[in-house]
Amino acid sequence: MSVAPKREDYDVVVIGAGPAGLAAAATSAEAGLATLLLDENIGPGGQVFRAISSTPVTDRNQLGTDYWVGADLVQALRAGNAEVIHRATVWSLDRNLDIAVSIGGASAFVKAKRVILATGALERPFPIPGWTLPGVMTAGAAQTMLKSSALVPDGRTVIAGQGPLLWLLAAQILRLGGRIDRILDTTERGNYVAALPHAFAFLTSPYFTKGLSMMREVKAKVQVVSGITELAASGDGQLASVSYVAGGKRETIPADLLLLHQGVVPNVNLAMAAGVEHRWDDLQLCWSPVLDASGSSSVAGIAIAGDGAGIGGANAAVVRGRIAARAAVEALTPAAAAKLPAMATLRSDLAKAERGRVFLDTLFRPAPQFRIPAGDTIVCRCEEVTAKDVLDSVAIGATGPNQLKAYRRTGMGPCQGRLCGLTVTELMAQARGKTPQEIGYYRLRAPVKPITLAELAAVPKSEDDVKAVVRG
């Protein structure tokens, strides 16, 4: 089933139906604005509330109470007049706020007065030796299968990495009867000390007790090895074993499945392709858009909410969505803004939701050796480029990620840098003695997600298409 947008023009188009997008669209529609919510998945929820309307996991304890908060957001959205289209992949957004979206294999174009990007986060690349072997996948991918299909691993399973989501996933797998043989915690020992000054805010945040009890729950059932300083996957065409070093001691264990996770980073592709200015975030070690207090970006009319605005978690995402939508309402129909919660209230909600974030960011700052690979470890999966290849190109004159394309085609494959971009920036920065900000990032281009030639060919044409001039 495919449903094209009902109109060509909207007051507000929200892209992404995770916590931020759901909240933004509901708020915008509540104020009476013509609102379109476009989302790539088959139902609302994004990653954190994935399959919230359809999950086969019905025991509420198994996915945790935080997950079911998503149901309220969906209900609020459905109570209003927002037009919602799922399986809708936005593949282009430009500074004129023209949006191209693929729905059921056909493209449509809509124009917005305001765009709220709520495209969320991606898992940070985890480029260790062997990470491209079949049998190695990201924790997020495993969680997708768990939430949407109640699938959990039953072979010999190792989870490696760090961060709150890793523990959440481990708990969810165990509750659903899945198997985890070992957890390899890559958190750097020094991070505990560095995070200490921020601990008070964290202790008084809702993350603390929940996080602690979840870790206890997992540790009671699975052997956890902490202080991992080296990690590699190996096998002949298929994962066979995981080897690691902890406390100076190397160990190798057989494994059928290795789940990797070292945090999430903003999904910047659509925003960057639209020309939104981003800056390197030295704490979160990623690119974040430059935004004002309402989430407005450097491109007039484009706001960003949720983890795409800088990682803040689901609670902060909801509030950021409301703030961005309220700002859009204030700009388009100031009178209608009176119905909505005051901006001051929303900002104080946000401060509360962001409490403890600095602690988490500091504690779970991934170690350099897991971000900046060496030697034959693959950096760019699409074009099979190794860390050594990148360094060799730097040695003969490649100065940044865009120049590197001329040497190695990094970032030019279908993933458009999602799996290699941060690694390439940090690797080149280290090699050239520059900051990531100085090194920069790939210039990203539409289509942000590939579309077929047949689909593009079916797009209604402009007049100017018959000219006798050919050029190469």
Binding site: P447, T452, L453, A457
Partner: protein, 373 residues
């Protein structure tokens, strides 16, 4: 303090880099100034067509000169630039279009040019088996081909620097002035002077020329390109259409580049372009009709490079009409990439010897401004 060099080249596209390199080969020490980085704009992101085919007659001698350099590009640059030569084919989609092709080839032959060859349906099918059955023939230029534009421009820049060129990237040339027989140019805090100044600043060159009293009818354009995912190998030559805006090239890795000159909106001051997807859809539809094998391929990326287009579609190439020591090399109007190697060689000859065996007389800025030197 002002640093003296032998020549100042403004613009790190393939033209500026090639001229800098050829000046080095002639024993000069040039300075190359690029406001972004070499190959940032049109030179690095064009379709990479190395084409003598279907050129305006005034630039054919320069194109032929360039072709000779392309064929030995590795010797010049120590880099193969991914140059490959499977010819370029102009496809006629109807008998009427084929008649135009026939007249064109006859005209070239009468002028003594033999690089374009008329082909019938059978030869067209042999060269491009995947083309639609209905096409009655076309024109081939067999020595033509394609190269990787970013790799090529980067290689020119690298070699020029190895041979002694000073390169300044990331800072724009400013405060260009002529004093006591020397051209002075500031680059950030630095100041350089030389008896020779080459204006090879692409989309930014028109303003430099105008500021020096030689305005020309030029506009900034941004031709769009898109590239597909990998598909099984099905075509060797570059294909362009006689009647519709399309050029088409499959690379060794299987990806297919689709171009043809549909334009994006350039925002020159921001180094940005906004694509026109409805025009790109037209290109997609043309490919869809002519090459059924491409229908399920995915478009993975589209982009546009900013460049200068002359009103008469012919570059501005050669000495200034007004100022001693000033040379122009811009306005290549969407077909400058192939000319880069030859234009650099000829420009170095003009600068060093005062003339060149390669005929460029119709490309000069004197077609807009009578010579007052």
């Amino acid at each position: 303090m002002t640093l003296n060099v032998d020549a100042i080249v403004i613009g790190g596209g393939i033209h500026g880099c090639s001229t800098a390199l050829h000046l080095c080969l002639a024993g000069l020490k040039p300075l190359l100034i690029e406001k972004d980085y070499a190959g940032r704009h049109a030179s690095g992101v064009n379709a990479g067509g190395v084409r003598q085919l279907a050129r305006h007659i005034p630039e054919i001698p320069l194109s032929i000169r360039s072709m000779g350099i392309w064929e030995k590009i590795s010797d010049l640059l120590d880099d193969d630039c991914s140059f490959e030569s499977y010819g370029q084919v102009l496809v006629a989609e109807s008998e009427e279009e084929l008649a135009v092709c026939r007249a064109r080839v006859a005209e070239l032959n009468a002028l003594g040019f033999t690089h374009e060859e008329l082909i019938d349906a059978a030869e067209l099918r042999r060269l491009v088996p995947a083309v639609a059955e209905t096409c009655p023939g076309g024109v081939v230029s067999r020595r033509d081909g394609a190269a990787n534009p970013a790799q090529t421009t980067t290689a020119f820049r690298r070699k020029a620097e190895q041979l002694g060129a000073t390169v300044r990237e990331g800072v724009a040339a400013s405060n260009i002035r002529h004093r006591e027989g020397l051209w002075h140019v500031d680059v950030g805090p630095e100041s350089f002077a030389a008896p020779v100044l080459v204006n090879a600043a692409g989309a930014w060159a028109g303003k430099i020329a105008a500021d020096l009293g030689e305005p020309v009818p030029v506009e900034t354009v941004a031709p769009m390109l898109m590239i597909t995912s990998r598909v099984p190998h099905f075509i060797d030559p570059v294909v362009i259409l006689r009647g519709r805006k399309l050029s088409f090239k499959q690379f060794k890795n299987g990806t297919v580049l689709i171009g043809g000159g549909h334009l994006a909106t350039p925002y020159q001051d921001r180094n940005e372009t906004v694509l026109d997807w409805k025009s790109l859809a037209t290109s997609a539809q043309t490919v869809f009709e002519l090459f059924p094998v491409m229908r399920s391929a995915a478009i993975v990326r589209a982009w546009a490079g900013i460049e200068a287009k002359m009103k008469d579609d012919i570059p501005v190439f050669g000495p200034s009409s007004r100022h001693k020591g000033l040379y122009h090399q811009f306005g290549f109007s969407l077909h400058g990439f192939q000319l880069g190697p030859g234009a650099g060689a000829v420009m170095a000859e003009l600068i060093v010897n005062g003339g060149s065996q390669t005929r460029i007389s119709e490309l000069g800025i004197d077609r807009f401004h009578p010579i007052t030197l």
